[in-house]
Every structure is written in structure tokens, then in C-alpha cells.
Symmetry: C2
Subunit: 471 residues, 2 copies
């Protein structure tokens, strides 16, 4: 199936063969080349075809990582870091073949500093595991991209999610990293200090580099105190425009909303059916506030006023933990609810981000596009950031259907760019957004490529991502 | 005078001479080579000796910048961006000679988007000019490094200041840039979208790169709504430890303090004398809250409780604009107050940043060091970030006194590094922190140098900064 942005890079067969032998010797049972392992490590929950690695190493220490990188570097063979495989743009595909470096066994919490609100973890730890570990400290790690992704993967794709509007993205929450570079040595970038002007911001360079500049071996993260009180609710609007206007006003007034999610009418219909709810089938905001009894009550009241101003239905507030959990479960199940609209189809979640003043316009134009293309595609957005997702349903057995998804995501990306936005707010470029990124960045793409070449001259780190293998 | 980290780089006399001729032709009166202009553009308010550029171009447009860069690139002559000259680590010194590119005439506000809370400006605009311009929009730009610095300079040094604890640093507030690269072309990096996962974070790479990777020609910044209510106050503690413990508790509880500044007893004595005040001469926190009547009252009450818990004197709160202005004027005049402790001496402000759990220990050890060295050196800190400044008084005519400053700042930097901190929280590396940066980053420094070399192969952008000319 010809997906424009997924290309097969040139394979270094001789090098790969040599590396397979060496790694088998070095790692024994922790090195796997069976088909099922290889398939599992190229799994992409997308319309993009899988490209299997030649083998999988289950790393347990930084020393393992260094050995794999040194071996691959010596033979100019690709090495692709693998967290949980929940990336959405083909990030773990082995476009040139090579070795998948699985981090599931490097999932320790290395240190917690409650006084400084920070933690250092191995990259294979998932965000849910981290929060379970932190439970007794009164602290939590807020970034929540939906999937129970690994911290390393979230760092590599600059992930965010529902509460980025309050707590920022991975860019804002990674303090320091250790990284194995192309020479197989481990370096430290950043410190535990909250801010620094000490030279180039290498930490931010690695955050979002999608495994193309080095392999992350530990991550130091900022933490937050668990709010004394959490409350929120749901409010339906007549139009997407009205809902977005309420969002803009909320942000402009500086109300520190923790989550403000937009679900379009189709998504509400899907959620109602899937989660046995009965929300009015209208554009709806799911809102949450974090603070104390007083501030949550205050901010909810402020939001209710704003919602009313834009013709919203009554804002139904709850601080009851059970009701709140039900509400957010419905939101978190949006993907599965969408998929359930037609269980015979596959679903692919794509994302763009625009300045919030353009959000309503972009969502409305996208809804019109969906209708015209005859697609089944509910929309859910992190409205406070101007970021939204379209879950495009398609038949993965039908090339015409896949081509339709690809064409739609490209139109969506171009629409966002035309509105001063970006082709991806949080999913990354991988393979699926390669041509959109080129359009977005223009000549700046050449700088990215220059940096890549300077730090990874033999192109061993996750080649074929962010730009085409041949570029 | 031999300052270890200030070295004279090799001058390309032939190239410089050719460039001087070309720029004179091209810019006429807007190109100056007189001694006073050259001195003014190497002025550093520090103990570091000045290194004068060979000429100064007053740029008015991006086209001017491109022409200067192309000319300098063709002849391999350094070009050094100049904002207001308020940097503190020799950032505008011409270590290899070359051209100072003055941005004072590129100070226009290019566009304001109130709905998106962003603004695009030319780099020569100062932060005070920006806030005057924004006055009628209900918005403001919060970053306040003390000096009325230019936005371009603040971007280049990753500046922050008193309210970074609430609003972040330049790293968090720059959305997009245009930059003239080494080939003399202008590129766009970043977008007006609030977040993005579209490729390498070039925006964050330029923020804090101190003019060594390209010349910034416009900056798109996030703005904030002017708070409905601002209130704050002053609270004295028996010890630095007690004051820092109150800060840590405030941060841990998630109280969104807008400013929380620590002044040590010597600094309070200086402020009392200079601003005709009568604060108790004890370690003191200056605190400010931004919000509504209700939230400011609430947060102030919470802080007062915390302060009491750590034996603080009564927290004297005021929301009266005049009293507040007086309080913060005293804080902002800390530098001049310090200088007034002995008007015969010069003063040099240095900074480090440590995890907040180590702040008290670092400040106390530094006070002991100051006493032992027989220095006059008040301390003032952005305590919420673990960042503090020492204003070291010295006799700039006396080599022994200058050597003492240099030795002290190096001990201070090493102390911060030993506590998991950074050698500079907000002043940058320039020339003064070159050896400390090398110690802080270890092998990661080589990566920075590799990136520099790849983006500026002829080393024309502000050479001799961040690392030594010869390195």
C-alpha cells in the first residue's frame, strides 16, 4: 500500500548481519529475532504500514544501551528506541531495518525529591506506574497523553494531553536527561535546578527529537502537589464557535483551568453510546479545576458565568470523586467510543494545533471536510491549547479507504498551517507528517537536518523519521 | 588585567578591513567606527574588561541584518548582536573584533493578538516599551530581569527575573522567532500555536544561545492578562533557613505565588539606607500574589500561616498600589542600594541556581564565604526558583580586588554545581562563566560545540562566548 510518507530506506545487510551475531552473543535470551517480537516492536496503531526491525534487545541498564549503540555505530546499523509502542505516526517503524531497543525492563524510579518536586526515572517507566509509585508522597506527574505511554517515549515525542493547558507539555516538565550519544557514551544534560542559562538548551533539543539524536537513559521530571480539591463539570453549547469563545474568554481571564476539553456532537454521540450516558448531542466542554475548596468553587463559578455568556447550557459542576471519574472516563474512552461507532472499521487519531482564536474556524472547516469526504470522524480537542484530534475511521483492508485517510490528514495539516498553526501539537512527525513538516518549517528543516548530521553522522538513530530516508 | 575566562581571540585583520569598507558604503551614517560608539557597544557592567568591536551598524530592517551577516560571512568577520548592553557576563564583548549589530532602531511591535495572548516584536524593543504598548489591551509581558533589557537580548540569554516562579522564563514565553542564519537568509522557527511536536525545538535552541547561532530578527511572545488584583507583602525571618523553608512549603502546596524574593540581612540594611525604610535587618521575603480579590486574599492568608509556622514575623500584607510600588521599588533598587553601601566601589552581580531544598544551605555557605573573604556582598534571590544573586563590591582599579571577585564567583559556581545546581540561572555564560560551564556540562559541552560548528562553520556569530576562543 503506497503511503506517501512511509518509505523503505536502504538496508545495510552486511552490517545488520554482523550486529545480529554480536548481540546474540552479548544478550542471549534478552535478544530476540522471532517474527512475533519483531512485529510487536513495529506495531503502529495507525494507517501506516509496519516496518519490522531485525531484532529486539531488552535493555536492563545504561551499559546495555551503550553496548547496543556502540555495536550498531561500529556497523552503521539503525537503533530504534521502543517504549510501549503507543506512538501514532510510525515513530517505532524500522524504515532502514536495524535493532529495536526495548525499554520495558528499564522502568525503575531512581530517586524522588519531594522537597524539590522532582523525580528521576528510567525511560521505560510508564506514566501510570510513576503515579502509583508517587502516591504516598502527595505528589503527581501531571502529563497525560491518554495512552499509558513510557516516560522515555513521552519525552521523545514531546507529548502532552488533557492538562497541558495548566501544567505544560513534556517540554516544560523535563528538567534533565541522560542520553547515550552516537559514540556510545552517556552524557548528562540539564540539572535539577528549576531554571538555567548555562549554554545551549540540549534538554529541549532531545525532547521531541523522536529518538533521532540519541537514546535517552534517564529522565528527571518536575512534579506537582496533588491538589487538595478537584472539581469540574460539563457544559454543552449550540455551536463549536460558542464553545471555543468560552474557552478563549476563560484563558484570557487567566482562570487556571486544569483541563478544558472540546468534544464535537459526533464524539458526544459516540460517548453516550459507548459509556451509557445521555449528554445532549451538541458541542460540549469537559472542564476541570485543581486547587482548594475555595479556589475550585470560585473558578467554577467564573467559568459558569462565561459559559452562560456564550449561550451554554447549565454548567453542571461536581466535586464528587465518583461522578468526576465517570465523566473523565467517558472522555478518556473517546477513542474507543469513536471506534465503536463502526466496529468493522479501524481508527486513526491525528492532531493539529492552531492559535486558539482560530480553533472554532479550524474545527468547523474540518467538520465540513469530514462531511464532504463522507468520513466517520469524531473530534475531540485540548481546546485550551488550540489542539484537537480527529479520529478518522477507515477500512485498513481497502487501499482506497487508506488513501482517503492520508489525503484527509494532509488537508487537515495544511488547514492548520494556513491558520498560523502547526501540523502536530503532540503526536510528533514520525513518518506520517514528514511532508507537512517540510511545509511548516521551510528552510528551517535544513537546520534540523544539519544538527542531526552533526550529532549522528552515520544516521544510526531512528533513521527515516521527521524527514524521508532519502532527503 | 588577567581575567582567566576573558581571552583575546585571533583577529582577521584583512577581513575586518574589507568589511569596514563595505559597510561604510552600504550604511553611511548608520555605520559608526568612532571610539565612543565602539566603547559603548562593549560596555559590560561587570569586572570583565571591555573588548571593543571595530564598528557598529544601526540596523533598521531584517534586510539590513541580512546584508551585515552576508558581508561578515563572506569575509569571516564576527558579528555581535547588541540590544541594550545590560548583559552581565561579557556577552557583547568583541573577543575577536568584528561588527556590533545594534538593534535599538529595530524596536517596533509588529502585531498583537489579544485573543491568542501573543505579540510579535522586533528584537530591539525593550520590555518596558512593550508593556507601555500593551497597556490598553489588558495584557502584559511578565518577564522582568530588572534591567530594561531588549526582548532580543532577553531571548538570547534565556532571561527571567522576579516573577519566573509564576510565569516561567524566556524559554517558556517565546513561541516563535525569525533568525538570520550564517548564510544570511532569514528563517522562521516555531509558530503561534501554544504547543507543537513538529520536529526539533529550534526555538528553544536559539533561546539562550547568546547570539552564537544566528541573529534574531523578530520574537513572538506569550502574554498574560493583567491580574484583576495584585497584593503582597514582606515577612522577616530569624534565619535564611527559616525563610527558605517557608518558600519550599509555599511551592509544595502549589500556592501560585507571583514573586517570592529573598533578601539577606546585609541587603535589607542596604535597602533601608538607600530607600529610607526601616525593615528589621533580618533575612526577609518579599512576596506578591496575582489574581482576583478572593484568590489574592486566600493565598496571602495561606502564606501568612506558613510564615508563622517557620517563626516569621507578622506578614504585613498590602493591596494598596502605592505601598506595593514602594515595596517593589525597594526590591528593584537592591542593586543600587548595594552599591551605595560603599560608593567608592564598583559592583558586580553574579547568579547561580540550585534545587530549592539546597537554597538555604547554599546561601548560608555563601554568606560564610563572603565573611571569610572580607567581601561586601549582599544577597538577593528569586527564592521560589532556587536562584540567587550576589552583588560583589570591588575596586575596579585594583587587580587584587578584581582577582578576589573572580575567585569568589568561581567558588560560588562550584558550590552550586556540588548541590545539583547550575552555574547560572539567568545571566548566561558569556565569558565570565566559561570554565564553570565546562565543569557543569562535562562531555555535553562537546555536543554544544558540534552544533555550533554545524550551524556556524566559520564561527562568525559572537565568537569567544560560552567557551574560549581557542577551544
Amino acid at each position: 500500500m503506497a503511503i506517501k510518507d512511509v518509505r523503505q530506506g536502504k538496508r545495510n545487510e552486511q552490517g545488520i548481519s554482523a550486529v545480529l551475531d554480536i548481540l546474540k552473543q552479548a544478550f542471549g535470551e534478552r535478544f530476540q529475532t522471532g517474527q512475533s517480537f519483531r512485529e510487536q516492536h513495529a506495531h503502529t496503531t495507525t494507517y501506516l504500514p509496519a516496518q519490522l526491525p531485525d531484532g529486539v534487545v531488552f535493555a536492563e541498564t545504561s551499559e546495555d544501551v551503550k553496548l547496543v549503540v556502540k555495536t550498531c555505530a561500529a556497523h552503521k546499523v539503525p537503533v530504534i528506541a521502543f517504549g510501549t509502542g503507543s506512538s501514532l505516526e510510525g515513530q517505532v517503524n524500522a524504515a532502514h531495518g536495524g535493532i529495536s531497543l526495548d525499554f520495558s525492563r528499564m522502568n525503575k524510579v531512581l530517586s524522588v525529591s519531594p522537597e524539590d518536586l522532582d523525580v528521576t526515572v528510567e525511560p521505560g517507566l510508564t506514566r501510570e506506574e510513576l503515579n502509583v509509585h508517587l502516591r504516598d508522597t502527595g505528589l503527581f506527574f501531571p502529563i497525560d497523553p491518554g495512552a499509558n505511554a513510557s516516560i522515555g517515549g513521552m519525552t521523545a515525542t514531546r507529548a502532552s494531553g488533557t492538562n497541558a493547558v495548566r501544567y505544560g507539555t513534556m517540554k516544560d516538565n523535563v528538567l534533565a536527561l541522560t542520553v547515550v550519544t552516537a559514540d556510545g557514551e552517556e552524557i548528562h544534560v540539564g540539572t535539577r535546578a528549576r531554571k538555567s542559562s548555562a549554554g545551549y538548551d540540549l534538554t529541549r533539543l532531545y525532547v521531541g527529537s523522536e529518538g533521532t539524536l540519541g537514546i535517552i537513559t534517564s529522565v528527571t521530571l518536575r512534579l506537582q502537589g496533588i491538589p487538595e480539591k478537584i472539581g469540574g463539570g460539563v457544559c454543552a453549547f449550540e455551536t463549536v464557535e460558542a464553545a471555543c469563545s468560552a474557552v478563549i474568554m476563560t484563558i484570557q481571564m487567566g482562570i487556571p483551568v486544569a483541563r478544558i476539553e472540546l468534544l464535537d456532537a459526533m464524539q458526544i454521540r459516540a460517548c453516550n453510546a459507548y459509556s451509557d450516558l445521555s449528554y445532549p448531542e451538541k458541542p460540549t466542554l469537559f472542564v476541570e479545576f485543581h486547587g482548594t475548596d475555595e479556589t475550585v468553587a470560585l473558578q467554577s463559578a467564573q467559568f459558569a458565568e462565561i459559559a452562560a455568556e456564550f449561550g451554554g447550557d447549565e454548567f453542571v459542576f461536581t466535586a464528587n470523586a465518583e461522578e468526576r471519574a465517570k465523566l473523565w472516563k467517558a472522555r478518556h474512552n473517546a477513542y474507543w467510543a469513536g471506534r465503536a461507532l463502526d466496529p468493522s472499521l479501524s481508527g486513526f487519531s491525528t492532531d493539529v494545533c492552531v492559535p486558539i482564536s482560530r480553533l472554532a474556524e479550524c474545527v468547523a472547516a474540518t467538520q465540513a471536510d469530514i462531511a464532504e469526504a463522507g468520513l466517520l470522524a469524531p473530534i475531540v480537542g485540548h481546546a485550551g491549547d488550540g489542539n484537537f484530534h480527529v479520529l478518522v475511521m477507515f477500512d485498513d483492508k481497502d487501499p482506497a479507504s487508506v488513501a482517503k485517510v492520508e489525503a484527509f490528514t494532509h488537508r487537515l495539516g495544511k488547514r492548520a498551517l494556513a491558520m498560523d498553526g502547526t501540523c502536530t501539537g503532540e503526536h510528533g512527525v514520525g513518518q506520517g507528517k514528514v511532508s507537512l513538516l517540510a511545509e511548516e518549517t521551510g528552510p528551517a528543516l535544513r537546520l534540523m537536518q544539519t544538527i542531526k548530521k552533526s550529532l549522528d553522522p552515520d544516521n544510526i538513530f531512528n533513521p527515516g523519521k521527521i524527514w524521508h530516508p532519502a532527503d
